[in-house]
């Protein structure tokens, strides 16, 4: 009975002490409140980010787990490791065995073969296509048509001449440009075209090899692609959705371009910048005048005029020149200058120029380097360092739902794994057999692996030599060619494959999609066991590890948050400690009196602890409430993803965070821990106060 009464007495004393030292306790309480709020808010945000990131990463390309070569030199980093260059994650030589073994592990829904790589891609330019139509007209014996096309090419050469004359004035290596100019002038000359009927091959060859390369619209576009079992991929990665075109039919080779990549990289740069400026100026209401960054973009836009002029058919160029002269009062000069003048947009004229651009210029040029349905040439270095090209049809564009604006997720283009293997330069069993046959034929039993591969694939950085490989009798590569040819009778992209072809080959890594993602840890262990049991020589990592930098970033942010919280609490600890020590000193007579009239040290300690716990609990409740309130508020309005990486982390343009009991408990326990720690020293001092001080 009296024990309880004594306790209530202590609580009452504690309450009164708290009240009578209001100033100190408001300060200390506010620190605690702020700290708790921060813990609840911070951990809730991080948990929400982790949750949404889990969704965006697992449901886009990673799956829940990833397996890859156990002895890989580098770690698997799906979204890049942050270091330049390609990482070496080894090879899963026999995917079939892996798929069969791991599919039997409980909770595994799908094992999706994958391989990521970078490649340069090329599409034909207007000049390429015009030369191609000339070739066709000639071989079909359509002399009149050929003449008309020839006139077009000459007009194009005239435009190029103007351009290269300009270059002559700004570039250092003038002899190079002069050589190019003389080639252009040769095409411009009537003499050049006199050979058209007598020696069409020579004319075409000159155009192909000397003139076409001068149109440098296609200088080094890189794409990152993921080769996979496309049907299996589409079934198992929920956020995958087609945007334009069609899904690659089963058994077909092809490329699905990411809509984000398509709009950002493949789209004509002038059109892209126009669209970007429209969003900034018209939709967001920003102004060029106030923003040096936009100013810079406009300056660079003007210099992009060739992206228009090089694309214009001569008739269209003349027509556009007239339109621009009418549109831009007082503007004179050749089309190049008119376009440059047109592109010099300001806050005042932008809206109208944007309209003019899409009404009058866009229809005359190619808005994208390639269209959906086109065949593009993809060139990549194989594992052994040889350049290898394939032509693939772009069946359609897709996006990862929620991640439409993420550059990281948007960088992934999808490709069938058969083509991926071709580009990767990995032998299928079929080819291995073929190779052995050659080895037997030419009597080289111990031909070096790289050489054999070279012999087999004919990889080289010279397109001409690539074709020479065909002479060795590998039909599959007969059509490998750096020029995209849509009408090539028997093209690689027309060949088909079946499920066995997909499975019985290599992959670089494989995604494992689980039935129940909450059992991830257990499944990871089960898969490890299966790997050991079947001696697959693989390692299995969770999606967060597999995602590389991005996955680690959340860990990094978590560490930063924890460090920040730690620092805030250390500061709070010091402040609380100091104020409490001071308050204790002020109360030393009271404490001495309590000790003199018979209060034990333990009683004084209890008094202090209860005081702190009361304050901590009150501040903790308020802080947790405030934190939870803030999270709820953000959960309503959403936190915009200001940076691209955030889009991926937020799994969309905005994060709608929520909190769980765990966050509140974390906040409460941290604050109580800090309170007790902060009280410890002053309480110790208090217990040391001698009763003599009261006398």
């Amino acid at each position: 009975m009296s024990r309880l009464a004594r306790f209530w007495m202590v609580v009452q004393l504690a309450f009164r002490n708290l009240y009578s030292a209001k100033g100190k306790n408001i300060l200390v309480g506010f620190l605690m409140l702020f700290g708790t709020c921060l813990v609840v808010l911070g951990t809730s945000l991080l948990d929400s980010i982790e949750h949404s990131m889990a969704k965006s990463i697992t449901a886009s390309v990673a799956g829940h787990l990833q397996v890859y070569d156990k002895n890989a030199r580098d770690d698997l980093a799906l979204f890049g490791s942050g270091f330049m260059g390609q990482s070496d994650i080894g090879v899963i030589a026999d995917f079939d065995r892996v798929k069969k073994a791991l599919s039997q592990v409980p909770n595994v829904k799908a094992v999706v073969p994958m391989g990521t790589n970078m490649a340069e891609f090329y599409s034909s330019t207007l000049l390429d296509r015009t030369i191609e139509s000339l070739r066709q007209a000639l071989s079909a014996g359509q002399a009149q048509k050929a003449q008309a096309i020839a006139a077009k090419i000459r007009a194009m050469a005239t435009m190029m001449e103007g351009e290269f004359n300009n270059r002559l004035q700004v570039l250092k290596n003038q002899s190079e440009v002069e050589k190019q100019l003389s080639d252009i002038r040769r095409v411009k000359s009537a003499a050049f075209w006199q050979d058209l009927e007598t020696q069409p091959d020579r004319v075409i060859e000159f155009l192909d090899t000397r003139l076409a390369p001068l149109v440098d619209e296609n200088d080094g576009y890189f794409m990152r692609y993921l080769g996979t079992d496309l049907q299996l991929f589409a079934q198992n990665f929920e956020t995958f959705e087609m945007v334009h075109g069609q899904m690659i039919p089963p058994g077909r080779r092809g490329l699905l371009v990411n809509q984000k990549f398509y709009d950002d990289v493949v789209r004509n740069r002038v059109a892209r910048v126009m669209a970007y400026l429209h969003q900034k100026l018209i939709e967001n209401g920003e102004t060029i005048a106030d923003d040096p960054l936009l100013q810079n973009i406009v300056d660079r836009l003007v210099r992009q005029y060739r992206r228009i002029t090089f694309q214009l058919q001569p008739d269209d160029a003349r027509m556009l020149a007239k339109q621009l002269q009418a549109y831009l009062p007082g503007a004179q000069g050749p089309i190049e200058e008119l376009v440059q003048e047109f592109l010099r947009v300001t806050d005042d004229n932008f809206q109208d120029r944007h309209r003019f651009f899409f009404a009058n210029i866009a229809p005359k040029i190619r808005l994208y380097l390639f269209d959906i349905g086109d065949v593009v040439t993809i060139r990549s270095y194989t594992k052994s360092g040889y350049l290898k090209s394939v032509n693939v049809k772009v069946y359609g564009s897709f996006s990862f739902k929620g991640l439409e604006k993420s550059d990281l997720a948007g960088a992934f283009n999808l490709m069938d794994i058969i083509t991926f293997r071709d580009l990767y330069g990995m032998m299928t069993q079929e080819k291995r057999a073929e190779l052995q046959k050659i080895q037997a034929q030419i009597g080289l039993a111990d031909i070096a692996a790289d050489q054999a591969e070279n012999a087999l694939f004919g990889e080289t950085d010279q397109p001409g030599e690539a074709v020479r490989a065909n002479a060795q009798g590998f039909d599959e590569f007969a059509d490998i060619d750096l020029k995209a040819t849509t009408d090539n009778g028997k093209s690689l992209h027309d060949t088909t494959y079946d499920q066995a072809d997909i499975d019985q080959g290599m992959a670089l890594h494989a995604a494992i999609v689980l039935e129940d993602p909450t059992q991830l840890v257990a499944s990871q262990r089960a898969i490890e066991q299966a790997i050991d049991q079947h001696q697959l020589g693989l390692q299995v990592v969770d999606w967060q590890t597999a995602s590389g930098m991005v996955g680690q970033m959340v860990t990094l942010v978590r560490v930063i948050l924890y460090v920040a919280i730690l620092i805030i609490f250390l500061v709070a600890l010091v402040i609380i400690n100091n104020t409490m020590v001071m308050a204790t000193m002020e109360r030393s007579v009271e404490i001495g009196t309590i000790r003199a009239i018979g209060g034990q040290r333990a009683f004084v300690l209890t008094l202090f602890l209860i005081e702190t716990l009361l304050l901590g609990t009150a501040a903790g409740f308020l802080g947790a409430g405030l934190g939870a309130g803030l999270v709820s508020y953000f959960g309503q309005v959403g936190i915009p993803a200001a940076h691209d990486v955030l889009v991926l982390l937020f799994s969309g343009p905005r994060l709608y965070p929520s909190f769980g009991l765990g966050n509140l408990i974390a906040g409460a326990s941290v604050i109580l821990g800090v309170s007790v720690l902060a009280t410890f020293y002053p309480a110790l001092i208090a217990t040391r106060i001698q009763p003599v001080v009261a006398m």
Binding site: M1, Q12, R16, V589, T593, R601, P691
Partner: protein
């Protein structure tokens, strides 16, 4: 009579820089149960130091202090605290009431520390003491709402509530006007006679000394017993 307090050759020295200050030198003193003793002496003579010895809040540098048969210099902090709670009542010069508690709560406080009485018993005991110090109307008030004399009477009630064998009071009237101070002394003497409680208090006030049954003079840490000045 029972020797309730016994000091033998008690020396208390305080370090003061490199020097030591001898506050008590070779004190021999015996106090019997029921005595009403005044320790008289000028400021700095060692009154408080002596009371601290008897009150078990401090230990001697040498010699022995026996309170209720216990050698306090041999006790640990817990045991001395327990002894204070069980056997001693304290009245302070500055009253030392706990400002956050009401007068009644202040008086109840030692009973709660003892934890032996039920709530009813405690309430009865507290009421009885307020009756005794004639402060029943102020029972619910806080220390800062009371006058100095009233506060000291609450302090006396607190000192007596556990029915201690000895009540110590270090200059209990020093912060009171002379009339109030004499009233307080009268009250203490009254309680001493009614309850046979041993009172030991210090003062340097001549008029206060007159009320004592026994006066112990202390000068520079040395005792000299003398009859109450008349």
């Amino acid at each position: 009579m029972e020797n309730i307090v016994e000091l033998k050759q008690v020396v208390k020295e305080y370090p003061l820089g490199k020097l030591t200050v001898r506050a008590l030198s070779d004190i021999n003193l015996t106090i019997e149960k029921g005595e009403f003793t005044v320790i008289a002496g000028p400021s700095g003579s060692g009154k408080t130091t002596l009371l601290n010895m008897v009150g078990c809040v401090d230990t001697p540098s040498s010699g022995s202090v026996t309170v209720r048969g216990q050698r306090i210099e041999q006790l640990g902090d817990r045991a001395r605290t327990q002894l204070r709670l069980a056997e001693l009542g304290f009245i302070f010069q500055t009253f030392n009431l706990i400002p956050d508690l009401t007068a009644a709560q202040n008086v109840e406080f030692p009973l709660l520390l003892q934890g032996t009485l039920t709530k009813k018993e405690r309430q009865r005991r507290v009421a009885e003491l307020f009756e005794l110090v004639d402060l029943t109307p102020q029972i619910k008030q806080r220390p800062n709402e009371l006058s100095g004399g009233q506060r000291q009477r609450v302090a006396i009630a607190r000192a007596l509530v556990t029915q201690p064998g000895i009540v110590l009071a270090d200059e209990p009237t020093a912060n009171l006007d002379s009339v109030t101070g004499l009233n307080i002394i009268d009250l203490m003497k009254d309680l001493n006679q009614k309850r046979q409680t041993t009172f030991i208090f210090s003062t340097h006030d001549q008029r206060v000394m007159q009320h004592a049954q026994r006066v112990i003079q202390i000068v520079d840490g040395c005792l000299s017993e003398g009859a109450p000045a008349s």
